[in-house]
């Protein structure tokens, strides 16, 4: 062991030391300087510590950092075209994307097509698929021209246009140019509904093909709603667990953990059985008449809202696109009558309506008549059907509620599945809050509410923070539940990543969408850190 002289001196030692210009180095028992010895000892323990975490570090590097980096890059890099069609790639690199395609471009293309067809890997299909992503229909153009390419002779421009007139089309060449760029922003642009063009611009995707922004927004909305719902549902449960006697709280804990240990698939399919049109909940509601009561209550609520604050209610209805109840109300009474008459009797009913005074007409009748006068009977009947379909949206038409295969189903099932991730951090934080604080607050004159809100709640915030971050990040990338119960409007971004992975085989686009999703998560992590502070988070 290292033996030191420090402190062994008599009290006068300090004065003696001060006189010495340079103290002799402290030596260990074996004669090496103590400083060096200490460094060696520290080094050794550091090495040991590093060796212990090295497997984990390596694991994180191999299973986490490298794959994420690789897929982020894959969203930018696609050499499917450039790899197999080097000549035309080079010829197109100099082309401005607007002027008339040159003979060199045609010649290079023919040479490439011939080479690709003779290649043992038969890459022509892959090349064609790549170009086809930019412009529909070019796939067969490539495969059919490749078959004829070997027999083509100069001038190649004429020969190719003769083989297929689409080669004269500048759009074809623009698509090829975009496809031939190996390092490309095209996929990240596409994942945000933009389009990368041959001239190097990034423009908005045509309206009927815009989808990803809607999906990202919907994903955020669902993740956010689920987080709020889990807080609302989880907080009281966690509070009970933390404050009830041990026996009861253990039972509660088991009730929370039991579903947590059950397979997600089982829980999701259980919700299908519960919520579907002919499912348990609908059967009970139908049998007990609850569903009619709910529809009735909705109608009365809308009626009340319309009576008390017509302008406010309309505003709310328009803002949130929830004017269903309002529409239903209107239809429920006189409107429905008119609509049904038109549906049943067609022209006769319309003529009947036309004879009434304009002021006596219901909104539905006015709408149908306007269409009848402009476009004839069939259009008016179609409108009536549309009105009726709106009214029948959630129960008035058919008495059963659509609670699954839509966004509602996704929300319900996801909230249930993610609830333990909120309850457990909340519980572990609440467990540490001493009940004496609340008692102290009350003894000092606080009401129950003040004691809770001013004393208890602030101490539980780290638990809410931890739970919210956990639930939100899990929810934003959720896949299996929306895939099973999402129907058409409950699908999330991960379902489309899956679609591009497994169905359309557009892996770079899937990678780009994954990259954007990752950026979202990092952004919210940053935001959380700014607002709540990551140090405030407590998992237990």
């Amino acid at each position: 062991m290292a033996v030191t002289e420090v402190g062994t001196d008599a009290p006068g030692g300090e004065a003696r030391k001060a006189k010495q210009p340079k103290p002799a180095p402290l030596l260990a028992a074996d004669g090496t300087p103590l400083r060096k010895k200490l460094r060696q000892a520290l080094m050794l323990s550091r090495m040991r510590a590093f060796a212990l975490v090295a497997p984990l570090l390596l694991f994180i590097l191999i299973a986490f950092v490298i794959p994420i980096f690789a897929f982020m890059v894959q969203g930018f890099y696609d050499n499917e075209y450039a790899k197999f069609m080097p000549r035309s790639t080079e010829a197109l690199a100099d082309w401005d994307g607007e002027s008339e395609p040159t003979e060199e471009m045609y010649a290079a293309m023919v040479a490439d097509l011939v080479a690709a067809r003779d290649h043992p890997d038969r890459p022509i299909g892959r090349v064609a698929t790549r170009v086809n992503r930019e412009l529909s229909g070019t796939r067969s153009l490539f495969t059919s021209t490749a078959r004829k390419a070997a027999r083509m002779e100069a001038p190649f421009k004429d020969a190719m246009i003769k083989a297929d007139k689409d080669w004269a089309d500048i759009e074809t060449w623009q698509a090829v140019k975009v496809a031939s760029t190996a390092w490309t922003p095209a996929y990240y642009a596409a994942s945000l509904d933009f389009k990368y063009t041959a001239t190097g611009d990034i423009v908005r995707q045509s309206e009927d093909r815009r989808i990803h922004v809607t999906l990202f927004l919907r994903t955020l909305e669902i993740a956010f709603t689920v987080t709020v719902l889990t807080i609302l549902l989880g907080y009281p449960v966690a509070w009970l667990m933390a404050n009830l006697p041990l026996r009861t709280s253990n039972l509660l804990l088991i009730l929370v953990l039991l579903p947590f240990w059950t397979s997600i698939l089982v829980r999701t399919t259980a919700w299908i059985a519960m919520l579907q049109g002919q499912g348990v909940l609908n059967d009970v509601a139908d049998w007990s008449g609850i569903n009619s009561m709910i529809v009735w209550a909705e109608l009365r609520f809308a009626e009340l809202g319309d009576m008390l604050w017509p302008s406010v209610w309309q505003e709310i209805a328009n803002r949130f696109d929830v004017n269903l109840a309002y529409d239903r109300l209107a239809l429920a009474s006189l409107c429905a009558n008119d609509v049904n008459q038109v549906l049943n009797q067609g022209q006769g009913a319309l003529d009947g309506l036309a004879q009434r005074a304009a002021a006596d007409l219901t909104d539905c009748a006015t709408e149908m008549l306007a269409i009848y006068n402009a476009n004839g009977v069939e259009a008016a009947v179609a409108k009536a059907r549309e009105l009726k379909a709106d009214a029948g949206f959630a129960g008035y038409g058919d008495e059963r509620f659509s609670m699954i295969y839509n966004k509602t189903g996704t929300l319900i099932a996801m909230t249930h599945i993610l609830l333990p991730f909120m309850v457990l951090p909340l519980y572990s934080v609440m467990k540490t809050i001493k009940p004496s604080y609340l008692r102290a607050a009350k003894s000092l004159g606080a009401t129950n509410w003040v004691a809770f809100w001013r004393v208890y709640f602030p101490q539980s915030v780290p638990g809410i923070g931890a739970g919210a971050l956990l639930v939100f990040i899990l929810a934003i990338g959720y896949y299996i539940t929306p895939a099973l119960v999402g129907g058409q409007d409950g699908q999330m971004i991960s379902n489309f990543i899956d679609f591009h992975m497994r169905r359309s085989l557009n892996w770079p686009l899937a990678a780009a969408m994954g990259g954007v999703l990752l950026i979202f998560v990092l952004f919210f992590y940053w935001l959380y850190d700014r607002i709540v502070g990551i140090d405030n988070m407590k998992l237990g």
């Binding site: 890997d121 038969r122 890459p123 022509i124 299909g125 892959r126 064609a128 698929t129 086809n132 992503r133 529909s136 229909g137 070019t138 796939r139 067969s140 495969t143 009927d208 093909r209 815009r210 989808i211 809607t214 999906l215 919907r218 579907q276 049109g277 002919q278 549906l343 059907r385 379909a389 949206f393 058919d398 295969y405 129907g487 058409q488 409007d489 699908q491 489309f496 679609f499 992975m501 497994r502 169905r503 359309s504 085989l505 557009n506």
Partner: protein, 360 residues
């Protein structure tokens, strides 16, 4: 979800000796459910009995993703896959499937050479068809006594209110919508090749959009019908037939406006047991095996010579198969063959438009 059935050949003394001659293992991938069962009965079992090879049967949901992943990773575990025509063509073009020497196919049982015996368009560079199947729509006769009879009825919410089941894909749906909108089947793909045609098909789908329940796996639509979740649904004809014949469900198929297609065997490039897979391919597409499959499920055999051998549903002599085939003349009055070239060219774009339409 992949279901793995391991079928080990009936180990009788007789087969043990032949098993010793050609031992091996073969992974056969198909669509699962009643369809895989028909193949197990008609192809796998006799093949196992003859060669002693062990067959592992896996299920998948179509598409090329798994094949592509395996081939590109150089780790192919599937030996032979049952694919749709458009995927067979695309996979062949992209070098995912092994090119086949079609001369290895034997002549039909009646002596017709293979090229003539197979229905036109069922032999391909990389794939050999086994069946003709069809997307039709069906309903429950106990729910709708006076049921729909034409494809127009499927889109008519006034005459037949209630939910509709449809496959979550533009394929077949757009074609059906156009036929229901009055387009002649022969012109459907010409119309669909134009912007207006696409808009017209989606406009037709719009009329029932609120009422559509989307399905993805072939086993779902009969279940949706049985649960009363939908009043009518598009489906693969064999699945509906199976629910009707084997499970006694009161379902009825409407053949009007059917979209028919082929299923083919293809061998992924680099399959571990490619030689055995070829042997299986040749064996299973012989006249007798194709005919045998048709007695288990109502998909039409790809060989003309098989038709004569198809009689009735297994175990039910009262149920002749002929009238349940997509190719039966009375079912074939207004039918359209799925155009693989069209879909290979335009599926990326149409998928995008379809998904955007769904999300609206």
């Amino acid at each position: 979800m992949k279901l793995k059935h391991i079928l080990i050949g009936a180990v009788s003394a007789a087969t043990l000796s032949s098993a010793a001659l050609a031992e091996g293992q073969l992974t056969v991938v198909s669509w699962g459910g009643a369809y895989t069962k028909s193949q197990v009965e008609a192809y796998h079992k006799p093949f196992i009995a003859e060669t002693g090879v062990q067959i592992i049967s896996e299920d998948y949901n179509g598409g090329l993703a798994e094949v592509k992943a395996q081939v590109e990773a150089g780790n192919v575990t599937w030996d032979i896959v049952d694919v749709e025509l458009s995927d067979a063509v695309r996979g062949c073009d992209e070098g995912l499937f092994e090119p086949l020497d079609l001369s290895m196919l034997p002549a039909g049982a009646d002596g017709t050479p293979a090229e003539e015996d197979f229905i036109e368009g069922t032999l391909h560079e990389c794939a050999v068809a086994n069946i003709v199947w069809s997307t039709i729509f069906a309903y429950d006769t106990t729910v709708l006594a006076e049921g729909p009879t034409t494809i127009e009825d499927f889109f008519d919410l006034e005459k037949f209110p209630g939910k509709r089941g449809m496959r979550k894909s533009p394929k077949a749906n757009l074609e059906m919508a156009l036929i229901a909108d009055g387009v002649d089947p022969a012109e459907v793909y010409d119309v669909l090749a134009t912007e207006e045609g696409i808009a017209r098909a989606f406009a037709k789908l719009d009329t029932i959009k609120d009422q559509i329940v989307w399905w993805e796996a072939g086993a779902q639509p009969p279940q949706l019908l049985a649960d009363g979740e939908v009043v009518m649904t598009t489906a693969y004809n064999g699945r509906v037939f199976n629910a009707f014949a084997a499970e006694g469900k009161p379902f009825k198929i409407v053949w009007d406006g059917q979209i028919w297609d082929l299923d083919l065997w293809a061998i992924p490039k680099g399959a571990p047991n490619a030689e055995l897979a070829k042997q299986f391919l040749v064996f299973s597409t012989e006249t007798e095996q194709l005919a045998a499959q048709a007695s288990w499920i109502s998909y039409g055999p790809a060989r003309k010579s098989s038709a004569a051998l198809v009689s009735h549903y297994t175990d039910r002599p009262d149920l002749p198969m002929a009238e349940h085939m997509p190719t039966a003349p009375e079912n074939f009055t207004r039918a359209l063959q799925n155009d693989f070239e069209f879909w290979a060219d335009r599926q990326d774009e149409l998928n995008e438009v379809f998904n955007a339409w769904l999300a609206q």
